[in-house]
């Protein structure tokens, strides 16, 4: 079975009298180890789809299978656990906790993990993650003491700290200059090479071309896809 399987997902916002359909029946699947770019203009519904994929929101109708589990209709607490164990998030604006060291930012999700891990164990795992993104000498720095690219790498380390099968990135280079963007995209490619499934939301064709596959959305529907040969 695929890692991610969407079956006829719809999402409608009910704003008073008017129903606003944002997603109108989306079906696609992502295999393990894939690197998918989700493209679309603003208003195409890609952010809404991303929220559903990231288990932050639930679809109005349809089924969403993640890692063999139907997660579209489970309870809020169960979805929180799925977010913690199975999903890594990278945001456009990094979303690091200010006045908290890089290391503490990275191990923050571990405190919500049900399985008990000692503090030393957490620190060890966080340090390993920072090493993986090349920031082993920046562990005690605060976000304000790091460059944008370094901050985003801390965010990537945080997303990976619980060894999730899939990493979602929402415009991860939107706040970065082009050279740093290239560094980050190289990091994604490297992580994908290590076997992590990555789904990337972007509106930039250049960024999307780094992915192995592109899915294009328009007006709440998937209108096209394309395999890239690397």
């Amino acid at each position: 079975m695929s890692l991610i399987e969407l079956r006829d997902i719809t999402k409608t916002y009910f704003l008073g009298e008017i129903d606003v359909p944002v997603l109108k029946g989306i079906s696609f699947s992502v295999e393990r180890g894939e690197y998918v770019a989700l493209m679309g203009e603003s208003g195409s519904g890609k952010s809404t789809l991303m929220n559903i994929l990231g288990c932050l929101d639930r679809p109005t109708t349809g089924e969403y299978w993640l890692d063999g589990q139907e997660v579209g209709s489970i309870s809020g607490d169960a979805r929180a656990m799925v977010r913690n164990r199975k999903i890594g998030f990278v945001f456009q604006s990094f979303n690091l906790l200010s006045r908290t060291t890089a290391l503490d930012n990275v191990i923050m999700p571990l405190s919500y993990t049900a399985g008990k891990l000692s503090h030393a164990g957490r620190v060890e795992r966080g340090a390993a993650m920072l090493k993986r993104v090349g920031l082993e000498d920046r562990m005690r720095h605060l976000p304000s003491q790091l460059s944008g690219g370094q901050q985003q790498r801390v965010a990537i380390a945080r997303a990976l700290v619980n060894h999730p099968p899939v990493l979602f990135a929402d415009e991860p280079t939107g706040n970065l200059d082009s050279r740093t963007s290239r560094d980050i995209m190289e990091m994604f490619s490297k992580l994908n090479g290590e076997g992590i499934t990555i789904i990337l939301v972007t509106h930039s064709g250049e960024i999307a071309s780094c992915a192995k596959r592109t899915v294009v959305m328009r007006d709440g529907l998937v209108v096209g896809g394309e395999e890239h040969r690397q």
């Binding site: 929220n51 990231g54 932050l56 929101d57 809020g76 607490d77 929180a80 656990m81 977010r83 913690n84 164990r85 998030f89 945001f91 979303n95 906790l97 006045r99 908290t100 923050m108 999700p109 405190s111 919500y112 993990t113 503090h119 945080r158 619980n162």
Partner: protein
């Protein structure tokens, strides 16, 4: 998320903005310190009242004669019934198991005490038996007490309090000096230790104590009383009891008096019986035993009222401490109101904090925090805030009480129970006023929260 890491998180969040945390918790600090100060001063004063009552003797009961009810007559002042006899006192010692000591008491005031060229009027001259010193827990500072033989024969000896030593003898030892009281010469044989003033502000040390037999025959003379009953077994051998001459034993007799009166004057009435219960717990049982014994001895049927009163210090203590308790409660209410005001301040700032940290909340939810984790985080934060305030308040309140103690000399008393209660109350304020902001934080939608600017 474990409790310890939540507490650590909360402390780190508070340390991020120490000034604000301090100002926020100021209401709690003031409330708790007010409570602590009030409680320490209140407890201190009630303890000192209790001590001064205990110094009178916590075990002490006093039996006083009641008001005589002469058929058709006017009611007279309490104690004028003269219903108590020395034999009553002996029976009390003999027959009441809860009673350790009992002494007849005769007292008199306004008698001049003359030594050399000094005239002094002691506040009180007391006639009693040796049990008096046991009941009052009054020790000798100098000399000796009168002996049983001196008590028996009515010897002209007395012991005096410290005030008399200071005023009449200029602080020198008065032992073996001869003084005159009501033109009778007495030998001072002992000096009592200092007792201070009683809770009415009267000087306890301005006192002369002598055997009650001496007091009866030499000082008070015969008080004419009306027998409330005629069944008393009082000894009426005047020569044994009243060796003095010149005292009228009988009122002058009208010629026809013996024929038409049944009211036989009794000679051996005493003013009070002072009783020491075996322990403070036995005061009430002693009181019951006394009442039934004296009712029996006075031949009072079930339809008759008591012809005596039994007073004990517990009643006194209750009267006095009820005032302090009421004042203490009032102040406590004021302090609690200030705690509520402080709690509202906590709630206000926690709401601000939740709004400020909306993105953080959204992020935490996105990486797997459940609503209850967020609730716990903010609740623990507000509890920690209140506990810190409570701790500072406890220290500050205790300091203020110590200051009052050293400047105004008011008695204070701290108790661990009050401190623990203050700690719990401040935690309670944290829960009550932190819950709504924490609940609001937990209700946030992660998508909206992440988008919040």
């Amino acid at each position: 998320m474990s409790l310890w890491s939540t507490i650590g998180l909360a402390l780190r969040a508070l340390r991020r903005n120490p000034t604000r945390a301090l100002l926020t918790t100021l209401g709690i600090v003031i409330g708790i310190s007010a409570v602590i100060t009030m409680m320490e001063i209140g407890k201190g004063s009630s303890t000192s009242i209790r001590r001064s009552i205990e110094s009178m003797g916590a075990n002490t009961l006093v039996v006083m004669p009641g008001t005589p009810r002469v058929p058709g007559g006017a009611r007279q002042e309490a104690g004028s019934a003269m219903s108590l006899t020395p034999e009553d006192c002996e029976a009390v010692i003999r027959e009441c198991p809860s009673v350790a000591y009992a002494t007849p008491i005769l007292s008199s005031s306004g008698k001049q005490f003359v030594f050399g060229g000094v005239n002094w009027t002691p506040r009180q001259i007391v006639g009693a038996s040796l049990d008096y010193f046991n009941i009052r827990e009054w020790k000798l500072a100098d000399g000796r007490l009168f002996t049983a033989a001196e008590l028996e024969e009515g010897a002209r000896v007395c012991v005096v309090g410290q005030t008399i030593v200071n005023e009449v003898f200029d602080g020198g030892s008065p032992v073996d000096c001869t003084v005159r009281i009501k033109n009778v010469s007495f030998k001072i044989i002992g000096v009592l230790t200092k007792k201070g003033s009683n809770m009415m502000g009267m000087d306890e040390d301005d006192v002369v104590v002598m055997p009650w037999t001496t007091m009866r025959s030499r000082i008070t003379g015969l008080k004419s009383g009306t027998a409330a009953n005629t069944t008393s077994t009082a000894s009426t051998l005047p020569s044994a009891l009243y060796p003095a001459t010149g005292v009228a034993f009988y009122p002058e007799q009208a010629e026809n008096l013996a024929d038409d009166t049944l009211l036989v004057p009794k000679f051996t009435q005493i003013d009070q019986i002072m009783v020491g219960a075996a322990s403070p717990e036995k005061v009430s049982s002693a009181s019951e035993e006394l009442t039934s014994l004296l009712r029996y001895r006075h031949g009072l049927g079930p339809d008759k009222e008591d012809d005596f009163w039994v007073r004990n210090s517990a009643e006194f203590m209750n009267t006095l401490s009820s005032t302090t308790t009421m004042m203490g409660n009032l102040l406590l209410v004021v302090a609690l109101i200030s705690l509520i005001v402080g709690g509202v301040g906590i709630m206000n700032i926690m709401l601000v904090s939740v709004t400020e940290r909306t993105r953080e909340i959204g992020l935490r939810m996105a990486v797997g925090a459940r609503p209850r984790d967020i609730l716990k985080q903010f609740l623990v934060e507000s509890i920690m805030l209140c506990l810190v305030g409570g701790l500072v308040g406890i220290l500050l309140g205790h300091g203020a009480a110590l200051l009052v103690n050293s400047l105004l000399n008011w008695p204070i008393e701290s108790s661990p129970a009050v401190v623990a209660a203050a700690f719990l109350v401040s935690a309670g304020v944290g829960v009550v006023f932190g819950f709504y902001p924490a609940w609001k934080a937990a209700q946030l939608d992660p998508i909206e929260a992440l988008r919040y600017e």
